[in-house]
Amino acid sequence: MKSAAAAKRTFVDELLDVLSNVLFPVVVFLIWAVMTTIGTIVDQNQDPQHYYDMYPTAVANLILRLHLDTVLHSIPYFSLIVLLLVSMTVCTFRRVIPKRFPKDRAVMIEAFGLHGSATSRAGDATGERTEQFLRKRRFALRTLDVDGTRWLFGDKDKWARYGVLVAHLGFAIIAFGVFLGWLAGFKGELQIFDGATAAVAQQPGLAIHLDKFTATFQPVETPNGTFYQASKFESDVGVVEDGTATKTDIIVNHPFQTKSGVYFYQASYGFGGRIDLTRNGKPVSLSGAGRLMPGDQVFLPGTSREIDYVTLLGPSDPSQVPMGVPLPKTDEYAMWVIHDNVPTTSRPLLVPIGKTIDVGDGYALTARAPIAWTGLTYRRDPGEGFVGLGAAVLVTGFVMALFFVPVKLYVRTRRDARGPVVDVAATTTKGNTIYEGEFKQLLDGLGRTLETGDNEPAQDAVETAYA
């Protein structure tokens, strides 16, 4: 019974040892890096066909069968972060706190990588001079008598020892914020035409009305001809939340935030084509919203004809004009008239706004002014604040842990035949080499301070210590 309990404890101990070994996060980090790289290279969450279109069949099969197409949203990926958090927690208590904050105690000075001695001619003033010297070099000091020997403990930048804990905490807060956003947040996209209103499905009582959408374009000349690049999109909207309406402009890089914390961003835009249709002079009503989007088809009832709407070309949306094609002076629609599945012309028809054309079998089509629509992304992320806070904490921790080199000194004063001798040992959180040069200067400086007799003024060795 007893040995089983002992074995169990050993297993738990071993597990905790593994989790608190710094090699553990290193291995997890490397796996995380590899999985993230796969997620960078392989488009995520696409249709299987997308991979067959992009890659040779064998590679596409590999991606799909190994689920590399969803690697970033997979349980193993998520588990890596959980593993990091668990190991970080274990490590904090088993390793970081005990090792990062060494206690004030008598130690074997000679066993330290950085150690040395200074012989003193200052007699009884040795202790005081040593303390003065170290204080001038920004060491916070404490004294302790152990078995009749006077010990002095010095700390420089001790606060920076907390850097690791702060950085680890920052990461944990970020992870919590991301998790909260994933659990309780929502997002979506609204396509709203001029004058229309759309409601946010996930939050009853929240709706947005588009008063007017404006897009501004700029011509850019290239070796292959001119293209038109959008220079500004602007949506003048009214946002209604729980009965209260607010008027605002949403432009790229300037989102709008509602009182309840839902953000609206300018994401895309476009123009809907509008046409009137008549047959033998009588109006024919069109099904749908009466707006055509690229790729839409209009079937002409009672015939085997259809109209395939391509796009709007012209000053309202010059970005649709193919490179090298001159920009039409007025807006026009590009469309195909299809008869028995065969286009009736070799090029798309271009129908200027206001013009009527015959599309066969008694049908006539009149182009009406296009209508703009805005694409607004909305999002509510209750974890966002935590992510921001975590990021700030993480950076603070990084600066504390990585920039500063906390040093701890163990100083013992003993007497030998020639008089008092001050033995000094040092440790840092980053090994010995990083402090080697400064430690040597510190010892030299201390030696000079203790060189003069106790009635003579001590040499001020400040400038030489850091020369």
């Binding site: 710094v22 090699l23 996060p25 290193v26 980090f29 490397l30 995380w32 890096a33 993230t36 790289t37 997620g39 960078t40 290279i41 995520q44 970033l72 991301v178 997002k187 700029q218 011509p219 850019v220 000349e221 290239t222 070796p223 001119t226 690049q229 959008a230 220079s231 500004k232 999109f233 432009i251 790229v252 890089n253 300037h254 989102p255 953000y263 961003y265 994401a267 992304t377 909305y378 999002r379 992320d381 966002e384 992510v387 990021a391 993480l394 950076v395 990084f398 600066v399 990585l402 920039f403 980053k430 090994g431 080499t433 990083i434 080697e436």
Partner: protein, 309 residues
């Protein structure tokens, strides 16, 4: 807003007087950096202060020319010059040389000059091919102030990793040299003769002991990791404004995260004395490969929201 509609071809765009002006300074900078690299190479052999000072002065002059080039481009385009791959490569090169000069003054790493300046020069020479003249900003780069901070901070992180890469290569050479000397010490005459280093490697005398070099690498990578963290955070603030969320799993974000993870692993390995040494140096060298993938691979081969060429 400048008028961009004046050019009919790219050749014409590049022949424009304003473009010619910033390119001229850019070319002078390339030449000065080549000369600086040559002088620092000479420093390996002469090993005296005037030679190191000569290299530093040439590199500083090159830095001045690059600043002039970027400044002219900024004025004539009416927007920050790091909106495309050409501009950002120029900034990486500028920051790498600046950081090298700072570390040179602080830690006397002038011996790394030939490596740092050759890589910088290669970046600049390659960057010319991406020069498209003066173009307007795409909407996501407009109306925001993040572009002033996010891009330079991330590029400064890359510059730090470049320096870390250079000092890690030198670390491996120095360590090899030290091991050879150690292997010869106290051995037979034959072993000692075999351990004598070839004369052309005598310049390794000006390189500090491998332990000290490892500290320098750690210091510069620590700065790089802090800058990368801050840069990614600034980027996510921008993404929040521009795309509606602080993180989109865009290839560039993911690749930057990979760099961050890689160097976080490096810093953790460094905390344990037993894991320091050549292993860590290789990790820093491979880390720069990850940086190159993030920088070039994602900009050029993988299209996403961040593919500014």
């Amino acid at each position: 807003m400048p008028d961009y509609s004046q050019y009919n071809t790219n050749a014409q765009a590049l022949a424009d007087a304003h473009v010619a002006a910033y390119m001229a300074w850019y070319h002078v900078a390339i030449v000065l950096y080549v000369l600086a690299a040559a002088v620092f190479l000479a420093y390996w052999f002469f090993r005296n202060r005037p030679t190191a000072a000569g290299g530093a002065i040439l590199a500083t002059a090159g830095l001045g020319c690059q600043m002039a080039s970027l400044g002219i481009r900024w004025v004539y385009s009416g927007h920050v010059p790091w909106n495309d791959l050409y501009g950002s490569l120029s900034v990486v090169a500028l920051l790498s040389v600046a950081l090298f000069l700072i570390f040179g003054l602080r830690y006397k790493i002038w011996f790394a000059g030939p490596i740092v300046l050759s890589v910088t020069d290669a970046l600049l020479a390659y960057g010319q091919g991406w020069n498209k003249g003066l173009e307007p900003l795409v909407p996501s780069l407009q109306n925001n102030y993040w572009i002033y901070y996010h891009v330079p901070v991330v590029l400064a992180a890359y510059a730090a990793f470049l320096i870390g890469f250079s000092t890690s290569i030198l670390y491996l050479l120095k360590k090899h040299d030290e091991d050879r000397a150690l292997a010869g010490a106290g051995k037979s005459v034959g072993a000692a003769v075999a351990a004598v280093r070839p004369a052309w490697l005598d310049w390794l005398d000006i390189v500090p002991a491998s332990g000290a070099l490892e500290v320098i690498t750690y210091r510069v990578i620590a700065i790089g990791e802090i800058l990368l963290t801050v840069g990614v955070i600034l980027g996510s603030l921008w993404a929040h404004d521009a795309w509606g969320s602080y993180w989109q799993n865009d290839p560039k974000e993911l690749a930057a995260l990979t760099c961050w993870i890689w160097y976080a692993a490096y810093l953790h390995l460094h905390t344990r004395p037993s894991f320091r040494g050549p292993r860590l140096a290789w990790m820093s060298i491979a880390g720069f490969g990850v940086v190159l993938f993030c920088y070039f691979g994602v900009n050029i081969w993988i299209s996403g929201l961040h593919s500014y060429k």
